[in-house]
Amino acid sequence: MPVVRLVAFARLREVLGEHREIVLPDGANVGDLWEALVREEPRATALARGLRFARNDALCSAEMPLRDGDEISLLPPYGGG
């Protein structure tokens, strides 16, 4: 079962915490991870709009399979500049 490290930013960090490790079933993908987080913390549901994911510092889709040791970043809509 893959253990992934989760890093959340901005309002998602406020809801989910900055870092945590999560164990997922074999074959789980990034979208499954998000579903698991939302089940655990329903307030995150409202923050799905415009959400982007990154796996090991590269943007990825919700279909990206998770591997043990991956770092998954949750990136809400950007506000830099």
């Binding site: 930013f9 901005a10 510092d57 970043s73 990136l75 950007y78 506000g79 830099g80 500049g81």
Partner: protein, 144 residues
Amino acid sequence: MLFEIVREPIDLRTIENAVLAPGCGGVVSFFGSVRERADDGRAVEGLRYEAHEAMARASFREIADEVRATMPEVRLAIVHRIGALNVGEIAVAVVAAAPHRAEAFAAARFAIDALKERSPIWKQERYCDGERLWVENRFGEERR
């Protein structure tokens, strides 16, 4: 060329020095600073920025690569500050140096627009009434 996320106040001159070159006769320096009022007119006490630092730096390099694909002589610096900023402080600086001004203006404009769209950086406005709000960049109808 300089691509950084920093926590200290931005010194524009240092950034300019990183891209100035004898072959570059046109230099455009853009900086964005913290406004005292939000778009809705509310009084702003300050801002707090955070970034996915590795991805933000990578996005700056990618933006520069795109600029140089069409304008290979442009030298670019992109620096964004994170942490707590007060009104009037510089949040972001883009400096573009080129042989002539047209490329320098075009490169600086492209770089700041691209940064707002694709660099993983977040801004929280902190208002004088105590409220705090994460503010997203808007596209299409955005003020330019």
